[in-house]
Every structure is written in structure tokens, then in C-alpha cells.
Amino acid sequence: MAPEFSSMVRRATFVLLALATVAVEIAASDGRAVLQSVGLAAAWVAVAACVGWFVPPPDDPRRKPPLWVLLLLLAMAAASFAVEPMRRDWTGDGHPLELQMVCGLRNVGLGLAACAGWVLCLRLACVVSLFLILFAAAMTNHPVVMVVLGLYTATGSVWLMLAYWAGLRSDFVAADKAVAIEVEAGGERVPWLGLSFLVLALGGAVALVVIGPKRAVLSLGEWLPTSGGTGEIDPFARYGIGDGPEETAGENAKAAGMVETDRVIEDNRKSLIDAVNDTYGPPHKPPKNQEKMIAAGQAKVIENHGKLPDNRRPSRDFDTARQGPQDAKRPGSQKARGLFEVQGRTPLHVRVVVYESYDAVEKKWIEARKPGDRLFDAEGGDWMKLGHFNDAGWYLGDERHKLKAADMKSNLVPTPAMVTRLRINKVDRPEYYEWDYEGVLALAGRNRTPPGVVVTTDCRTLDPRRLPEAAFGTSGGAPPALTEVPDAIRPAIERIAREWAGDEPRGWPQVSAILTKLRTQYTLDRNAAASADHPVPVLWFLTTSRRGPDYLFATAAAILLRSLDYPARVCLGYYASPDAYDPETAHTPVKSSDLHFWPEVRLRDRHWLVVEPTPGYDVLGPSLPLSERILNTLTTVAAWAWRHVIELSVLLFSLVAAWFYRRELIDALAVRIWVWFPGRTWRDQVRGAVAILERRGHWAGKARPRRQTVLSWLRAALAMPTHTDEDLDQLTRMAEWAAYAPDAPPPWSADEVLAVCHRVLGSWTLRRWQDANPTPALGA
């Protein structure tokens, strides 16, 4: 009897786990009331006790636990992650991912304690409890945890005494009560397949880290939300310096970063905020071309001596707070990667110029007029309310982005479409903004948007497929410029539009039909252009070349939509492509080369819906819940599978057949390899043939026990007396000679060895092995 078989030891183990659970709960939220933590721990322990109540005692504690124990443990581990969303929803409190993982381990430990009838589970439960209590002690110095630690130590001592006593009982047990433990025949099988997968996975990960592309390496880190970059920001994550999506504003920063903070660094450059410290030192001399600035007010000004590092790149490595071991370390300058950086989901369309009228004679779009003085309302906390969206019912929730100016060439305030409100730190009055075009915002009184300005926006999202027909405007309620189609091209355009979308109902199906036609049957070619003397380039694009730059795609889409009585316009702006996303900084840089044309359709409530006719470009869709994303993915996969049903069927059939006949295939391959490379010596040849035979026997359920030689195994497994199969009999003798005979010439010629091996491998096929009657193994 092993020490662990004692029921007292099992109970002591459960107590150890219960104490560790209490300690972990307290350490996880040490600011919470202790009774609440103890209550939560008690709930988990009660669950484990209930599970333990239903777990049947094993017949042989030394055996491996059955598979359902593993499934039970996995379920216990998953329970921690399943409970977390509910906990956040109901209580508003939550754990970061790492604590969820610890809680998962705690549940596994409780599950192991519940299944402690198996020695393996009991031992693992002890190890887990020790890890948990050490984790809790390292996490906090809460006095209750110290008390629990003391109790754990005392219980652990009792556990040791019980285990020792149980061991003594096993040593001095009466002979008539002794239990004989028989060793299993065949021994423990090494899980080669699992080990191979493990080695492959680990080797692949290491290879990826060492020689793989940097993007792939960084994507590994994105499995954890706390590392940022997935677009998912965990509100309960515990970010550290150099981690998380934001730079950190420091108490005594040594550089300006893309942060929103009350502390500003003294800087003589054309910054947005006036934060010159002129308390001491020479009087401040404003530059000649002084631009409009925002008074810093009560902001704390950090004195700056010397040249300030020029940081124009968002980086989690670049923090303005670090005062670590090298306090004197001064961050270096970082060049801008583009005009601005986008934090948040992409793709994103940022308007720069809006065009409304199409001049067929000049073959160009005419810019929209500048809007009047219609500004917007200031909300608290520097927020400006922009769009007035009615409760139309087709809008979904707002989505937040941060667009961080890096090297803007103009005073543009980059904003996505359908923006409802925005914020720039300390820019608290609407007069600081001005409209360049409808939907295009700029900083008033400035030539450039200075680097480091962070524009936080909330933009409304919608799913265009759910837009009702009434959502789309008509020429009746829109300015004429938005619906006009030049007379010269109207008949041709209307014919194409009717041909493409005439059968579709009005609304999104019609718009989508136009877009789909352009996206699927036309090719994006930035160098394609109609000849200069062509009267109507857009018709050349639509009817002749069927390829062109995005300008022609946008123009064609807008004109076609207008011919179907949808108010539409064309915009020039920046396209933040998901392909440009940088997982290292968790931002998407937008460069001047990302200029892009796209059309927009006016909705009945006067807001503009971005549509994308250009292949390779997409529009930001709504942020769907996980279930809907999974459903969409499944739908997409199902549609793809339906399109390739024949290929998939053939592939599936092949895979099933390959799996069904996997042994025959592997065996045939092994025999072929043996035929090609039988071995250099006759001993190698015989060993190779015997190895194939052994594999066949193993697959046929007659594996050679480790205590049997080939001779005795073959005779026992095939229930065959000697000399009934001359070839097999000879091969067994050859195998004996190959394995144990001295280095003397064998009593067979090389040709005879090969011939015998060939004949045996040919006659004792896998099927014949399977058909042979099993017999008890020799000596068993």
C-alpha cells in the first residue's frame, strides 16, 4: 500500500487545496473584503467537494486515471474563464488574463484533489497546492494570507506525518493482508505520437522565434490580450512599463510622446499647447510665425534643458515615465513612419478632400464648397460633439480610435467617417476647430497639426446589409450637385446601371450590386489611364479597359449610383490598411502614399456612408460580438466549401481512405524502403525485415512483449509449431543469429537471406497477421 492510499492523506490533501484556494482568492484581489474572498473560495471548494462526491473510487489507485478525469479537469480549468465574463458583467470587477490562468490552475488543483483516489492525481494536487500557496505569498503580504500560509504549513506537516504513518503501515502490514501488485505485461508505452507533436510544436515555435519573420513572432505575443495589438483591450489588464497599448505619461518625463497628460514638457517648437516656463531664465521670445496655441492652464510644466528628443512614433518601448536603474537615460529621437498613426481597428477611411460635382468637359471632379460656420458643441473633458445622429435604428455602437499625428503636412484633424465626437487633449473650445469640407476637420489658425497630437474619436458603425430602403436618400432631398450626371454620358451610364442593378430592389442590394460588379470584374491598375483625347475616361474604364486606378473606380461607382438616384460623392483621403498594421507598436501607420479615392452615399439623415468599389480595399464593419463573428466565419467557410465541394469531397475521401488504410500505406512504404535500402550487412537486412514484421504484429494486436525474443514471440503470436512455414522458421533463426551469434560467417548466403526476407514479408502480410488467431504470449 502506497502512503497515498490512506483516506486521511486524501482528506489532508483536499484541505491543502482549500487553504491554497483561499490564499489565491485573497491575493488576487487584496483590496476586497476578506469575507468576500473567503466566500468565493468556499464556493469553488464546495464545487470540488461535490465533484469528488460523484467521482467513483478507482479499482487500482496506481493505474493511470481514465480519460474522463482529464476531461473533468479541463472543464474545471475552463470554468474559470467561463465565469469571468459573467463576473465582469454582474459585479463590474474582473481579473487580468494571468490571474484567470492562475484561477484555472486552482480549479485544476481542486479537481485533482476531488479525484485523489488515483495516486497520480493526489500527487499532482499536492504540487499544485504548493505552487498556489507560494504564488499567493509572493503576490501579497495581506495578513490573512500569512495566517493561511501558517495553516497550510501546519496541515502540510500533518500530511507528511499521515503519509509516513501510512508508509509504515504498508511496511509492517500482516502477510495475510498483503496485496500482491502484478506488473502489467508489455510495460508502459511511450506516447511517440504525442511526443512528436510536442517536439514539432516546440521546435516550430523556436524556429519561428529564431528565424521566422518578425511579424509572425510578434503575433505569438498577441495571443495574450495584455500584450495589446489585437485590437482588443482588456480593461482589467495590469499593464507595466513597456507593455500595453499606451505610452505612459511620466512625472519627470524626458521626452514628449504621443500621450494625453496634464504634464507638458517645455518646448520651443510649434507645439499645440503653450507651456513655456518663463518663471526663471531669459524671457520667452515667440517665434516669428507664431501659430494659434492652446493655453496650458494649470498644467504642470516640466522644465526642459537642452534639445528635446523628437519622438514621432508610438511605441510601448518608449515611455516617458521610466526612472529605472539608469535614471540619466535619455530617450532618443524616433522618426515618423508616416503622416499619422492609427490605434484601433482598421481599415479606416480618413477624408482630406471632398468632391461633389463632376465636370464632364474638364473630366475632373470639383471640390465641394466649404461648409458654413456650423460648428459643434463642446462636451466636458475636452470632448467635442460632432455628428447628430438620430435614433434611426440602423446604427450600431460607437467605436473608438486614436489617430496620432506624426508628421502632418497640413492642419488636418484626421477623423474617420461618421464621427460622433472627438477629443484632443486640452483643446476644449470649438473655436479651435474649423471645417475644411463637410466631414473634414482642421485646426483653426494653424498651418500644421503638430506631432504628438492625439485625436481620440468615437465613430458610429453600421452594417450596410441591414440598412432599410428608407435609409437611402433620393435626389429630392439632396443638393443637386450630389445627384447630377453629365448629360453626355447619362444614357450610357444609366444603361450600365440598369444592366448591373436594375433587377435588384432599391437600397443596399442595388448599391451592393454596383460595388460587387466593380470589385469582381474590374482590375485595379494604378498605371492604366485613358488617352488624353478620350472624351469620357469613365466610360473608357467601364466599357473598354475594365481596369484603372482607384480614382476611376470611385468615379464610376459615384456616377452609376447617381444614375440610380442615390446622392453620392467622391472623397480623397487616407486609407489605413490592415496590411500596414504593426504588431510591435500596435498601431497602423498611414503614409502619404496611402492616398485613396472612394465614393460615399448619402443617407436620408444626411450622413455619409463610405462604400468601396476598389478591389483590395474594404470598409470598416461593425464590431460584432464573438458569437456573430464565429457565425460569420462559419458561414464564409461553408460558402467557400460549397463552391469547392467537389475538390473538398475528393480531398476528404482521400483523407478518410488514407486514414482507414494508414497502416497498409505505412507498411507498404516501409517495405518499399526496405527493398530499396535493405541494409549493408546481412544482420541489418534481417533486422529491418523483422522490424517490419514486428510492426505488423503490433498493429494486429500481437505486439512483441518486451521479455520475448523474436523467435518465441513469432511462435507464440502465430500459434505455429516449428517447421510449418519453412521461410518464417528460417527467418526466425536468421533473426537469432543476427542478434546473438558471434562474428562468424552465417550459414546462409547473402542472396538467401534477402530471398527469405522477401518471401516472409510477402507472405506474412498485415491482413494475414490480423487473421491469425491470437494466442497467449509465451511466458505470460
Binding site: E182, V183, A185, P705, R706, L711, A739, A741, P742, G779
Partner: protein, 318 residues
């Protein structure tokens, strides 16, 4: 197979195959229906080992010993071990010859080719230990004079496993001198019928009287056994098994290096009896029971299962 093995030592032993068959036949004739026991006795004899027969009375232990003595063509002695048996009764002693006025050595029963020590556990440890030197070194020392025994000296000792009153269990040192411990066991029904039928018409037992080996032939065979090849992987297998005996929780006394040597030698003899010029793990396993049973400290009745576990615990080389 022996006809084809022209380049090895067994081929040179081929002329003596008839002698082995003759030995086997003679012993099988003396001990009916116990071919497996006879085979092991032969292996023990050829390996220059000594044999301990542990069985109930009347199962043919003495018959077997006599048959062995006759078959190998040597002298046979028998000692009925009793508590009052003295060492000198086994080794011999010196007496004063009044004519020559000198002490003369009168050799004891150990000066024979086959010695049957019947019910050896009934004599005292002192007398048992007198056999130690004779069995291990094939010599005895009396009055500081060393007397050499025959090189083929073979001890067959018997003991009764049931009656323990008034017995002196053999010490481990003595047990380790035996190559094998065997049990004869009851014969099968048909064999017993044949036994009865053969006894009709004979006043007394009719032991064989024909020697199967000439003088020196047994020694020659034993030398030949020593040259049977043992591959390195088989030796490693033996060593692993030996070490496993020392680690097994139910074995209080593991295999000694001397025991390992004896095991290898018996395996060589076993391979020889199977007309094979090399030893295989099968040989090692097949004689593991009697070899280990003689020397491992195992609880009575548990030897079979423990030896099975030992065999399971070490993988055979292939």
C-alpha cells in the same frame, strides 16, 4: 543444424552428440515422464554446477542421482544426512596405521564423481559447511592436507520442503554454491501406469548399468560448454536482470556475481543442449527459474511471480 555449422565449435562437438543423446535417454529411462527435469539436470551437470533437489519423498530423487552417476561412468556415493553426521563422515578422516606407524587418510564419500547428499537440511550447519569447500573448489582439506576431488565432481543434494522440525535450513552461502534448485514433482498418470507396468516381474529396481561417457569425456564436454558464445547484448541482459534482482522489493537477497557467472554457464549448457553455438535470451529465461530459485532471498511460494516480474522488467535485446 549441426551438420551445417562447419565453422564453429559446435561442429567440432558434433561427434559427441550421440553421447548427449545417450545421457538424456538413460536419465529419462530412470526418471519417467520428467524430460524437462532431466534436461535441466543435464544442463547443470554440463555446466559443472551442483544440484539441489527439493521435493517430497519418493519422487525419484535418489534414482535420478544414481542414474546420473552410472550414466557419466563415475563413482557414486551417498550420504544420508542426519543430525549426528560429522564433517569427517563426508570428507574422510585420518587413522593411525599401527603397522606403518603413520596416519593414513581414509577418503570420505566426497571422493566420488557423483555425491548424493540426501536430506541435507537434516544435518548440522557444521557438517553442511564441510561440503562448501568440496563443492566450490573441488577439494577438501583434512589435517591441513589438501585432497583434490575429481574434476567432474557433482553434488546432488535433496531436501524435504514440508517437514521443518529438526532441520537446519541451508545458509545462503551454501545455497549459492548450488547451480540450480529443482523440484521433480509427481509424474503424469500415464507415466505412473508405465512405471507400475515396468515394475512387474522385477524384484528390485533395475537401475541402468551402462555408462554413456568414457572417462574424461564429461570434462571434455564441460570444456566445450565453456566455449559456447555469449554475445555482449546477452551478457548485458544478464547483468540487467541480475541488477534487477537486487532492486526488487520482494527480494531480500539479490543475485551475487558468482550467481551471475553460474547463470551464464548454465545458459551456455542450455544452448548446447539445443544444438546452438550461442546463447540467446530465451536460454537465459528458460533456466532462470531453477538458477534464481536456488539463491534469491524470496518468500516461499513467491519465487514464480517474482521471477516473472523480473523478466518483465528488463527488455530482451533483439
Amino acid at each position: 543444424m549441426t551438420q551445417t555449422l562447419t565453422d564453429n565449435s559446435l561442429a567440432r562437438a558434433a561427434p559427441n552428440a550421440g553421447h548427449i543423446d545417450g545421457l538424456r535417454a538413460a536419465l529419462n529411462k530412470a526418471l519417467r515422464g520428467k524430460a524437462d527435469v532431466v534436461e535441466r539436470v543435464l544442463a547443470c551437470l554440463l555446466a559443472r554446477g551442483h544440484l539441489l533437489l527439493e521435493d517430497l519423498p519418493g519422487l525419484g530423487k535418489t534414482t535420478l542421482a544414481k542414474a546420473v552417476a552410472v550414466a557419466v561412468g563415475g563413482r557414486f556415493s551417498r550420504v544420508q544426512c542426519t543430525p549426528d553426521l560429522l564433517p569427517g563422515d563426508i570428507t574422510g578422516y585420518s587413522v593411525f596405521n599401527q603397522k606403518t606407524r603413520e596416519f593414513e587418510f581414509l577418503p570420505g564419500p566426497v571422493f566420488s564423481d557423483v555425491l548424493l547428499a540426501d536430506e541435507i537440511n537434516r544435518t548440522t550447519p557444521r557438517t553442511q559447511s564441510a561440503l562448501l569447500e568440496a563443492m566450490a573448489e573441488r577439494q577438501v582439506t583434512v589435517d591441513n592436507v589438501r585432497h583434490t576431488l575429481t574434476p567432474t565432481f557433482f553434488v546432488i543434494a535433496t531436501q524435504n520442503p514440508v517437514e521443518h522440525h529438526g532441520t537446519y535450513p541451508l545458509p545462503e552461502a551454501q545455497l549459492d554454491r548450488f547451480a540450480m534448485k529443482l523440484s521433480v514433482g509427481y509424474p503424469e498418470r500415464d507415466d505412473e501406469l508405465g512405471l507400475l507396468a515396468a515394475a512387474v516381474g522385477h524384484v528390485a529396481d533395475m537401475p541402468g548399468h551402462e555408462a554413456m561417457l568414457a572417462e574424461g569425456q564429461l570434462a571434455a564436454l564441460q570444456e566445450r560448454i565453456a566455449r559456447i558464445a555469449v554475445a555482449q547484448n546477452v551478457q548485458a541482459y544478464l547483468v540487467d536482470l541480475g541488477r534487477a534482482t537486487r532492486a526488487h522489493p520482494k527480494v531480500t537477497l539479490g543475485l551475487s556475481p558468482r550467481g551471475m557467472l553460474i547463470w551464464q554457464r548454465v545458459a551456455q549448457a542450455w544452448a548446447f543442449l539445443k544444438d546452438r553455438p550461442f546463447v540467446t535470451p530465451d536460454d537465459v529465461q528458460e533456466i532462470a527459474g531453477p538458477v534464481l530459485g536456488a539463491r534469491l532471498g524470496i518468500a516461499p511460494g513467491a519465487a514464480g511471480s517474482v521471477i516473472d516480474q523480473l523478466m518483465e522488467s528488463v527488455a530482451v535485446p533483439v
